[in-house]
């Protein structure tokens, strides 16, 4: 009986997650998806989003990987507090994140005093900043879990021979964690692609000539179409973006299966 209740809960939840996805793709249909992917404005918007998300995940990798390792191994003093701070963006409403980042580069902020030209509004780097800010916690949290799970004896063996942590991370841990890092990066990229709240405030549209001329990130593009032309105008674009994010999720799942 208990087993049955667990199974029923699992199936109900899975259906709740899958049903809206399936309905969206069904409503769009092959013709809608084709027209979405054929639309130059949507494709440009998608290219901008994918490019900025990949750049954000590259930042997550460069900065977040050593931090995740340091937190997992207790190398960072006050690691618990650092972890809580780094995870904070998960629970901050993302429109609030947008306002925070906007303020950080506005006249009241000391950053503006030092570099007034560093405005994130409508810029590619502003978009990357927002996406990295919201995807970094997912990246660090997931990678820390991986580092905590891996066998430490290899590291202890090499560390005890006087090899520094940074070399062990680079030469030993990262080489053995290629799959998990790729999986976590794909999940973080999925999170970055889906960001709307902070993006709509900082980078409603991006001017980054010669690549992007007032291009809307995909989530803003969908919202714009919904606001201006109604639900049915947004359906095919939403379904197309859903397929892209599902592709990332399925890739991450496939990588985790290969790891096992």
């Amino acid at each position: 009986m208990e087993d049955l209740s667990i199974k029923i809960s699992s199936y109900v939840l899975t259906a709740l997650v899958l049903f809206p996805m399936a309905l969206l793709i069904f409503m769009a249909g092959p013709r809608g998806l084709y027209s979405a992917f054929s639309s130059i404005s949507f494709r440009t918007s998608l290219e901008l989003t994918l490019f900025a998300s990949a750049a954000a995940v590259a930042i997550d990798f460069a900065l977040g990987t050593p931090v995740a390792y340091g937190l997992a191994r207790g190398i960072i003093k006050g690691g618990g507090a650092v972890y809580d701070v780094l995870l904070a963006p998960v629970s901050i409403p993302h429109t609030v994140v947008g306002i925070m980042l906007l303020l950080a580069f506005s006249p009241p902020s000391p950053i503006y005093g030092v570099a007034p030209w560093l405005s994130p509004i409508g810029t590619l780097w502003g978009l990357i900043l927002a996406l990295s800010y919201v995807s970094m916690p997912i990246y660090i949290m997931s990678l820390r879990e991986h580092f905590e799970m891996i066998d430490r004896e290899s590291e202890m063996y090499i560390l005890s021979m006087g090899v520094p942590h940074s070399v062990v991370l680079r030469s030993v841990v990262l080489r053995g964690s290629f799959g998990p890092i790729l999986r976590v990066s794909l999940l973080s990229m999925g999170r970055a692609i889906s960001e709307f709240g902070s993006v709509v405030i900082l980078t409603y549209s991006v001017l980054a000539a010669p690549l992007f001329y007032y291009t809307m990130p995909s989530t803003v593009f969908i919202w714009y179409n919904y606001e201006v032309s109604g639900l049915y105008a947004a359906v095919s674009y939403a379904a197309a973006l859903l397929l892209v994010t599902l592709l990332l999720s399925v890739s991450a799942y496939a990588i985790s299966r290969i790891e096992h």
Binding site: E153, S154, M156, Y157, I158, L159, S160, M161, G162, V163, P164, H165, V167, S171, V172, R175, G176
Partner: protein, 192 residues
């Protein structure tokens, strides 16, 4: 060259191993002998600095017990193969600064594993190779956890010769003392 333990205790969770006293010198390894659960591995991990401890670890006259792991000059070789499987033996040797390791491996009859990935070695080959790299690495003393378990008699005997020939002091743990070893420097640990 020596490593000496004075009233040394190791702590893991609520478990305390020791206190132990003893000294290892080249050609005179110190052996922690006892059944499972007596704290042999716990002691090695604490000597290397991976667990908290009490008492002194003196290497060549200097107490290193206040130093973090990696700075103590004590190489810890686990009982299981611990070389990362995706790395070649020569890469690990290079990281460990084990200059004479290739000759040591040849002496063990393992010269052919030098360019192999560690993951391709058999259990016994991997254990003997990781011990050889530690014996010839940059550390001042070596801790070998159950070095002979899983090795053929011939390989175990060669490794024992390498331990005796090493210019470094070595501490080893043994669950069972093989019949072909003559030991004089043994700390017996008893279950609590």
């Amino acid at each position: 060259m020596s490593i000496e333990l004075r009233s040394f205790k190791a702590f893991r969770g609520g478990f305390t191993a020791g206190p132990v006293n003893g000294m290892a010198a080249p050609s005179r390894p110190l052996v922690f002998y006892g059944p499972n659960g007596t704290g042999k591995t716990t002691l090695l991990l604490a000597i290397a600095g991976f667990l908290s401890s009490e008492g002194a670890v003196i290497i060549n006259g200097e107490d290193v017990s206040g130093l973090p792991y990696g700075k103590r000059g004590v190489a810890y070789v686990p009982a299981r193969p611990a070389m990362p499987g995706w790395m070649r033996v020569n890469e690990i040797s290079s990281l460990a600064g084990a200059n004479g390791a290739v000759e040591a491996l040849k002496a063990l009859g393992l010269g052919h594993v030098w360019n192999e990935r560690a993951g391709k070695l058999s259990f016994g080959q991997a254990k003997a190779a990781q011990a050889a790299l530690a014996l010839f690495g940059r550390s001042a003393a070596v801790l070998l956890d159950e070095p002979f378990t899983g090795l053929s008699d011939a390989l175990a005997s060669s490794l024992w010769e390498a331990i005796l020939a090493s210019p470094k002091p070595v501490i080893i743990t043994l669950n069972v003392i093989p019949g072909w070893i003559q030991l004089s420097n043994v700390v017996s640990l008893n279950p609590r």
